[in-house]
Amino acid sequence: MLALVSDFGQFCMLFAFCLSCYAIVSSFLGGKLGNRRLVETAERAVMAVCGLVTLTVFSLWYQLLNDNFNLQYVAANSNRAMPWFYKFGALWGGQEGSLVFWCWILSLFSVTAVVLNLKKNRNLMPYVVGVISMVTTFFLLVNNFVANPFDMIGVIRPGSPVATSFTPMDGNGLSALLQYWAMVIHPPILYTGYVGFTVPFAFAIAALITRDLDEEWIRTTRRWMMVPWLFQGIGILLGAKWAYVVLGWGGYWSWDPVENASLMPWLAATAFLHSVIMQERKGMMKVWNMILILSTFLLCIFGTFLTRSGIVSSVHTFAVSPIGPFFSSFLFLMISLSAYLLLTRLDSLKSENRLDSVVSRESSFLFNNLILLASMFAVLWGTIFPIITEYLQNEKRTVSAPFYNKVNIPIGLFLLFLTGVGPLLAWRKTSMQSLKRNFTMPTIAALVTGAVFFAFGMRHFYSMVCLILCVFVMATILAEFHRGANARRRQGESYLEALWILTFRNTRRYGGYIVHIAMVFLFVGFAGAGFNQDVMKEMGPGESVEIGSYSLNLEQIKSNDNPNYASVVAVMKVYQNGKLIDTLLPETRFYKAKEEPTTEVALRSSLKEDVYVVLQLNRSTSKAVIHVFLNPLVSWIWIGGLVFMLGTVVCLIPDRHEKAMQQVASPAEVEELANA
């Protein structure tokens, strides 16, 4: 039965590849010839591909859950002792499975794009379907012929010219680092982000091909960009949470190439989500927006190539693989296609409006985009610099946290400043009176905060500047909400009611402000890093270690053993100012199948600070090595993540302006609506 299901999965994957090839040909041909039936068959092929890839994924899950170690993938990424949910998560725990999973999400996105556009964007859809199918076909090509998750383990026996099938008794198991709850949901969410950026890319290419570059496609694309942007953002933060709790080094972000690869497209997409407002409102920055959409997708592929080809080293698992040349060829093809179309359509992408003043919302968007892109470039440059030096100087370099922190912290702080300033500048021109009205109170609040911090002895420059700016930005945003709510209260609404209605009547604007609040929370969390403390001590029972106002006493050490892992747990009593407040249980595990150790961090978290305890062992003294970190304000990062989700969801809810615009078919109707 297992073999049958495995063969069925392989067949579905191959059939999906064939149908996807057909979808490319028929959609482009149908678009070119204006043949509606050809386009419809392409759309049905896309749906069939989705069904087939779904069956492939379920076949692979079946193999994983039933321990078919005859498959290389299952043997390498699962074992009998693993709980079922990690076996389930092993689908994306290795190279081949994660590529199938990627392809599955992409096929789901394809179907969604087709279904949501059955009655609109019809002139674009043949090319949208064609481009998405090109990407799907590429992944199916890699999965079928280079990184096949259904490949079986073969053994060449003496005297036999061919390999015979072999089933090991047990598998190697999932990497111990991946056996953590966030890793069951982090990759799917992050992949949804990565993959989702394919749809706006497809719309952009379709708009360029057809030269149908009016407002409709950009409105559609904005939404399609925002959804993966949300998922990518959540995915990045979940990854940070995983790094914080599992890697045991006391931090949440280490500028690892894989982390960088996920951040770059998110930054480009963030720039787009700002500059698209300029195009929708003023008909400006059309070329720039096109570049941002194309770059976001290309950065996704580039990042994937970078981290899966093994050309940069990373703590993540997809280290060495033969898929690199395929990804680089595909990337080259996509860059060439994008560049050609963009350069030949420049005349259709001219800006239509003018700028009335330098001090205006329009110019703040330009600076915002510049800073976001500078930050993105710094990350990209740092990530590829080791490759460049190796190529040019035949000597490797390492670019890690000190480089990124020195370059990106000032850039990030300027971006935070713009987050406060930009939304309060008026369109066209900002008067001096308006500047005074909007910025006096936030500036005073920020200066007072700075003075208080200084008086209390705070001297860490970047953290202090960051917190002052956080107060400034928060004050500007809250003032915006307050002014809006006050204006509505004059109509007899209560304050809370006014806030609610205000937000949901203009979801894009106020949802955007909520996202900015999330950014403030995130920066508050980042600022805390300037005050981190840590202490490492070899301890026996009864001994204690001091950090900040805390004292941690090692009470006893216990051991655990189960089929999946063996572990040692330290029972640590936590005292604050002499009073017992908690018991923490840092743990060290040894996963048997993979022969891999992990730390299980014990954490006491509060809004003010985290007490973070790691247990390690010293072979020579047989003592516990307790590493205690006191990390201020980290919780604000996770709170920021939740607020970010909330804000983006609010932004996605169509407000009355958008609904009106969507329902309007002609300029006359718009005029009528406006005069109503």
């Binding site: 500078a374 670019v399 204006a487």
Partner: protein
């Protein structure tokens, strides 16, 4: 928000030291083992990157299967005992392990490009933005009937702006 774990299975009623020894020998046969170092070693090791592919600074690597952090930190501790300065330790490490051991590129020779490029790009971007703003402010007002005004007529736009102003 607290993270607590229960310790239930196979708890051994032996002393902690004995338990730790059992754990070390039997439960963790191939694990690398940690060692506590004084703060000055941590400070000095911030200049270097761990060689276990974790991409962390040597001061931060917390990987239990890391085979390089403890020996490298021990080496730094030895250098510090010999009275070597931070610069001398960096020179000694570069001579022994090459520049790949450094956590960030140096600020000389070709490595300087790593530091300059982001700010050069930012400066270039600022120049571009300057010229874009200049070009846009000098542009004549958009003629009626172009794409943007076609979809959002002036009356509707004015109404929206008025509403926004009222809210503000």
């Amino acid at each position: 928000m607290e993270k607590r774990r229960s310790v239930t299975d196979s708890q051994t009623p032996l002393g902690a030291e004995v338990l730790m020894l059992i754990a070390v020998v039997f439960l963790f046969p191939s694990m690398q083992f940690a060692q506590a170092f004084p703060p000055e070693v941590k400070k000095a090791s911030e200049a270097f990157v761990c060689q276990c592919s974790c991409n962390h600074q040597l001061s931060a690597c917390g990987m239990l299967n890391c085979g390089s952090a403890t020996p490298l930190r021990t080496e730094i501790q030895e250098y510090l005992k010999q009275g070597k300065t931070q610069k001398e330790i960096v020179d000694a490490f570069v001579a022994k392990y090459s520049k790949v051991i450094l956590a960030a590129p140096m600020t000389q020779g070709f490595d300087l490009a790593a530091w300059l490029a982001p700010f050069a790009a930012l400066t270039f971007g600022l120049i571009v933005v300057y010229f874009v703003i200049k070009a846009w402010t000098q542009r004549k007002p958009a003629v009626a009937g172009n794409a943007s005004t076609r979809v959002i007529p002036d009356a509707y736009r004015d109404k929206m702006e008025k509403e926004l102003k009222d809210l503000g």
